[in-house]
């Protein structure tokens, strides 16, 4: 097992990883930018190294400084968390080359699944259902027209190197296609440095369903159930739950099997997530593989009882998976609300000083956060400051628990998304599980009107 792990992240996920390390008896090194010097993740670690100024390009994503920090502290592994360097194939490669274990997939894994069009083709060749779309990147406007006609409108144009909703364009009619294609290429080029785009059928109100997988270094893979992440605003997830109200036992088994096939096809290692789109007729389509631990991993932990961060560490240290597929039991229901430092109406970030902080407690309530009273929420990083997770024997209990926990949560001094979450959890359609990726926009429009 590793002796000392450097946690190349900040905020709640850095603290999450440090907690797992502590429970495994592994020493930890926190890195931080200078504005984060007093953060909880820094104080929770055994050692800490300042790696640069507030700008994360010069600190948390500064590869030489992060690796130097690992070197001077004698860390034998690095956990990247999510964001920052977590899906940087080059970083993973450099770690491998200097003998510091990158806790996550291989650099080849990251590079391969990072090319979305290519990954889709690999999956299609494996017989995994993918969204009807262009075979690989579109080379020309006529390529795009041919593909769109074959698939049928509406279609969506996506950047191969894209993610998080950027570089996407929905096209409803044929005469809009050429302009959208050109614009998408230009946007892809300027945003991701690579102009490649591809095209897929567009579904109006699908669900975003993703399957958590764990793969050890010997290639054994298990799936840990799905997460329904349909509550999104501009492709940013806000509420996640497991199990999905739309997935029954049979569908869960099928999707789990397909997810395992998908990660096997790319010889994937460590924790990963296979994202699917689920339409109203219970048909699902592969979208992409997320080569990192995800923000919403706790809901899976709540229903499986498995600590995913510890599993990541054990797998990276070479231990075989301690579970076979039949050992995985899903118990109860779990929700996660992302608490962002944002104005709940307009979603504008709201940095500032948290004057008073009191997380909710009691049975079935979990809070992952690095906040405390008198914590500053600095404007340089992601606005997510806490994850509120509940678990209950069934969806109703988990929802009721979330409502009471949202009522208890005290974060004074800044605005947060807590009031929005309260309204969502009081919505009749949401309560019935009638959600899709279009839910939140319609919900917000209704609230405003």
């Amino acid at each position: 097992m590793f002796k000392k792990i450097l946690v190349a992240n900040r905020g709640e996920i850095a603290l999450r990883v440090i907690r797992a390390c502590k429970e495994l008896g592994i020493k930890t090194v926190a890195i931080h930018s200078d504005v984060d010097v007093n953060s909880l993740h820094v104080r929770a670690a055994d050692e800490h190294v300042c790696v640069g100024p507030a700008d994360d390009a010069l600190s948390y994503r500064n590869i030489p400084n992060v690796l130097s920090a690992a070197e001077v502290t004698g860390a034998d592994a690095i956990h990247p968390g999510y964001g920052f360097l977590s899906e940087n194939a080059h970083f993973a490669e450099v770690c491998e080359s200097i003998g510091i274990k990158f806790i996550g997939p291989t650099s080849e894994n990251i590079a391969m699944v990072g090319d979305k069009a290519k990954a889709r083709d690999i999956m299609a060749r494996q017989g995994i259902p993918v969204l009807p779309g262009s075979p690989g990147e579109l080379r020309s406007e006529s390529d795009a027209l041919d593909a769109a006609r074959k698939i049928g409108f509406p279609v969506i144009i996506k950047a191969s190197a894209g993610g998080g909703g950027r570089g996407m364009r929905v096209v409803n009619k044929e005469d809009e296609l050429v302009r959208a294609f050109q614009a998408a290429q230009a946007e892809a080029k300027s945003t991701f440095g690579h102009e490649g785009v591809y095209l897929e059928r567009y579904f109006l109100e699908p669900r975003h369903i993703e399957v958590q997988v764990l793969a050890d270094e010997r290639g054994r893979v298990v799936s840990l159930g799905e997460r329904d992440c349909s509550i999104q605003r501009r492709y940013q997830k806000l509420v996640e739950e497991t199990p999905s109200p739309a997935v029954d036992d049979r569908l869960r088994r099928v999707m789990g099997r397909v997810a395992v096939e998908a990660v096997r096809a790319v010889h994937y290692r460590n924790a990963g997530t296979v994202e699917f789109l689920l339409d109203k007729d219970q048909r699902f389509y592969f979208m992409e593989v997320n080569a990192r631990i995800q923000v919403e991993h706790p809901v899976t932990e709540m229903v499986t009882g498995i600590d995913l961060i510890k599993e990541q560490i054990r797998i990276a240290a070479g231990f075989p998976l301690a579970y076979r597929q039949q050992d995985i039991r899903l118990t109860g229901h779990s929700f996660e609300c992302r608490i962002n430092a944002e104005c709940p109406e307009k979603f504008t970030p709201c940095p500032g000083l948290v004057t008073r902080y009191l997380p909710p407690g009691g049975l079935g309530v979990r809070v992952d956060s690095a906040m405390e009273s008198q914590s500053p929420v600095v404007p340089h990083y992601d606005s997510m400051i806490a994850k509120l997770i509940t678990h209950g024997q069934n969806r109703e209990e988990a929802m009721a628990r979330m409502r009471r926990a949202l009522d208890e949560f005290v974060i004074d001094g800044i605005k947060t998304t807590i009031p929005l979450h309260r309204r969502i959890f009081n919505d009749a359609e949401f309560q019935k599980g009638r959600i899709s990726t279009g839910f939140l926009e319609r919900f917000l429009a209704n609230q405003a009107g």
Binding site: V37, A44, D46, V51, G52, P53, N65, V66, S68, V72
Partner: protein, 191 residues
């Protein structure tokens, strides 16, 4: 303000690496932030309050040209002190707001050269060689003061000013973090 120039060189030798001390930074005064007070007292108070919060002070009082400001926080509220979390960096010694500014004037006019990277500090080009500089030496702007080794690359750190080395603030062969003070230089030596 500009950063010290970093010139990477090939590796010559590596020292033994030790764990970083838990607190490497030094408090640098920002009193000069108040020097621009022209009557905009609100901005000055705002800054004081920020200082109070940033540095987790209990009380702060400034008097300047008939303008006196005192800001105090309840001791009980001092939030980051004495906690069960094991490693508490002393909040009063937090780095300045813009530690990317590696050259900063303190109250007595000194210039601090801080490390622009994370690595291992060496005072000499090789174990047998003489140190680049000693305390008391006169240095020229652009003169190499030390090496910080990172990822097997030797990075020469140059002086940004003419002056005299007042204090060498890091220990040779020991790790340094970003923003850690390395040298204190008097830019206007009297002798």
């Amino acid at each position: 303000m500009s950063k010290p120039r970093v010139r990477p060189r090939t590796k010559k030798e590596r020292g033994r690496l030790a764990a970083l001390p838990t607190n490497m930074s030094e408090f640098s005064s920002r009193n000069n932030a108040l020097s621009g007070i022209s009557g905009d007292q609100r901005r000055a108070i705002q800054e004081l309050v920020e200082l109070l919060n940033q540095h987790n002070l209990a009380e702060l009082e400034v008097e300047r040209g008939g303008f006196r400001v005192r800001v105090r926080r309840e001791t009980g509220a001092a939030p980051i002190a004495a906690t069960a979390w094991e490693h508490v960096p002393a909040a009063q010694e937090a780095p300045a707001e813009s530690p990317s500014v590696s050259v900063s004037s303190d109250t007595s006019g000194m210039v601090t050269i801080t490390s622009p990277i994370v690595g291992t500090f060496y005072r000499s080009p090789s174990p047998d060689a003489d140190p680049y500089v000693d305390e008391g030496d006169l240095v020229k702007k652009g003169q190499v003061l030390c090496i910080v080794e990172a990822m097997k690359l030797m990075n020469e750190i140059e002086s940004e000013v003419d002056g005299r080395i007042v204090k060498i603030m890091a220990e040779s062969t020991k790790p340094v973090e970003y923003g850690q003070p390395l040298f204190l230089i008097d830019p206007a030596p009297t002798s």
